[in-house]
Symmetry: C3
Subunit: 151 residues, 3 copies
């Protein structure tokens, strides 16, 4: 059995790859806030009275704002659990190639998901497949780790 | 003081137990998405026009869908912070028995919470106690770690 | 290049500081649940029929409840990604002083954010600057780690 202290080392290529994709995903999630702000100002749809540019603008919702917010929430539902599953998975000492592929498929899937949901809306099943790409990679990693660490 | 490099080792039983419960919780969170989808199709209550099976079905909400969504959001409010508190806690070198009990109580509490909230609705205080089970275990672990790592 | 196994040690001051602020932030997020409950009881605005103190109280929303819920969601959008970026950042072997400052600015920013959003509402740009304090520290750490771990 591999030792975690050799795996959780910045000299270990796979751990570096994991940290790289983690940071890409962190920045991707953070991008949703300015994206929401742009839509709020464009449609004058603010959540709070104090946010509006003028006192005459009452808080309201707009579907383009809500689409970005739903895409953001979907990120929160999928990205933190992926980062946990991914860390558990690399501790099972998997092939670097396969693990890198899984991180890449997940990251690209989540980016496509946001684009087709909230930037350039495409008909289904575009969003469904982007969601599935993220879901299946996470489930695969979590199940592999679950079997490996079964106590 | 215990060394983290001995604790964060896959040869350390407690770290393996932590990783096992983490993966169980990851899969539990991911299960909320198909659970939401089932309720959406059952009640024809979709969030987006492009998701509906027919163009005549307008986006709408339904309480059974919203219950699953609230249970999902409650998971997001409690599970990621538990995983952080749990990791900090095992680095304090606690008793394996107590830590395992805390992970188990948290995991079972969260499962009961979802069931009584969104699958088979029970009157209060069922959900309140399930929520409390998760909350108190997390607070205990975070406070123990806070005292241990106080700088 | 620094070895992760020396960094991820409870004997390493920076890792201890990271764990300390992580636990503070975990408790801060958990505090949002009782804060929401207080507002729900105060305004008799419950999300579910079974939560109300009397059967005559129908589920409804109230802006003071929604403000706490939006502050809570904003925490979920920013705190887990900060904890990931922060861990990746300390693995780049930064100055202890700078890293501690970044953790401190983030933590205080998030506390101010909740206060001006949901406890004692202040006009903008109070919340905007509190949000920015959290966002910029996270982006800085994620970008630094991204460059360091670029593969």
């Amino acid at each position: 059995m591999a030792k975690a202290l050799e795996i959780l080392s910045t000299e270990n290529e796979l751990f570096r790859i994991y940290l790289f994709y983690s940071c890409v995903l962190v920045l991707k999630v953070l991008l949703m806030a300015p994206l929401t702000a742009i839509q709020r100002f464009k449609h004058k749809a603010f959540a709070n009275a104090e946010d509006a540019i003028s006192e005459k603008v009452k808080p309201k919702t707009h579907d383009n704002v809500e689409r970005v917010r739903r895409a953001h929430l979907n990120d929160l539902e999928n990205i933190p659990v992926f980062l946990v599953a991914g860390l558990a998975y690399i501790l099972t000492n998997p092939s670097v190639w396969l693990a890198t592929m899984l991180f890449r498929v997940f990251t690209i899937s989540r980016m496509i998901h946001t684009i087709v949901y909230a930037v350039y809306v495409l008909p289904q099943p575009a969003r469904f497949f982007a969601f599935l790409g993220g879901l299946l990679t996470t489930i695969y990693m979590a199940v592999q780790a679950l079997i490996y660490f079964f106590v």
